[in-house]
Symmetry: C2
Subunit: 195 residues, 2 copies
């Protein structure tokens, strides 16, 4: 429920109401409120003064900060996943990569975003670091709406070259290369957004 709400298909600045969400999902106010508050607790929603709730639209400083967070956390996760990455994982990553290419050619930003995150999560799951992954997903959640909105604006056409570099580094067991590839993949996309 909350996952679908915040996965990116909600424009930043949208106002949410407890009763509205309750009606939409066929539940009462109590579970809706709980979901809202939980998302607000991890920064995915901003609850304005007097509890009014909206999806946040982030300032450029905030985007830069969250991008730095990704650039800090994700290389570490990738590095931890590297020793445990075997062929089956790499194959799955390549399949996901193909799906990403399809989403790009279809100009479907929400599918692109979702599959892109699936690529990263699939890799990071191997890191056996649940707390670190949870924190990273928190960051994704906060970036979700703005990223989706901005990807919708600028027409991406280039294929996911960075992902290919990541897979290559994974195959070669090249730890510094992997860190660098992940970092550039993460920061490059977000640098375009603020710039």
């Amino acid at each position: 429920m909350r996952v679908r709400i915040m996965h990116g298909e909600l424009a930043p600045g949208t106002a949410l109401t407890l009763r509205g969400l309750g009606r939409e999902f066929g539940v009462s106010m109590t579970p809706a409120r709980e979901a809202i508050r939980r998302l607000a607790a991890e920064g995915a929603l901003t609850l304005s003064s007097s509890g009014r709730v909206t999806t946040p639209d982030l300032s450029n400083d905030r985007i830069e900060e969250l991008a730095a967070l990704r650039g800090l956390l994700e290389p570490e996760l990738a590095s931890r996943a590297l020793p445990r990455a075997h062929i089956a994982l790499i194959d799955r990553l390549q399949v996901i990569n193909q799906t990403i290419a399809e989403a790009i050619s279809k100009q479907d930003p929400v599918a692109y975003l979702r599959t892109n995150l699936e690529f990263h999560r699939t890799l990071y799951l191997r890191a056996q670091a649940p707390a670190m992954l949870a924190l990273t997903e928190t960051v994704w959640l906060q970036l979700g709406p703005t990223m989706c909105a901005l990807y919708g604006r600028l027409r991406r056409t280039e294929p996911p070259q960075n992902h290919r570099t990541i897979i290559a580094a994974l195959r070669a067991g090249d730890e510094p290369g992997l860190r660098l590839a992940v970092r550039t993949d993460v920061t490059q996309g977000l640098k375009m957004l603020v710039g």
Copy 2:
């Protein structure tokens, strides 16, 4: 309310009940539940199957992971705070440091922990990076109960030498030195816990 609960004065493994907490704080189940769920969402509480809620007692792997997270996030925060650190801040840090020394001499683990975190937070507030600070506090929250319990077991007597190194690096404007000092301060304490 939730801050006081998780600030460290709760042994890991304690079971919380909604109605119990409600009675303790003079409120009904609804706000108590909300607080519980919020804390559970950020990993400060583990809600077992069927919603039973306890304070988590962390495995050594988990402690190591959270320590790595601190070692990743906090040097970055300190580095960002460095250009904005002026004399008044350093003075305040030194005052807090004195309070820490008092807590150590009194063998009061919860006061030690609280003041120690106040030291770090005071520094990191200058970084102007709210999301990063929020994530770091999440990590603190998760570590809270175990750290308190373990600090109670081992009798610390050494004064906070690392904090003095941090302040010195801050004064000198030495960015790599600051990063290193923060990293060792953070990881050293936690290395003793698992070891």
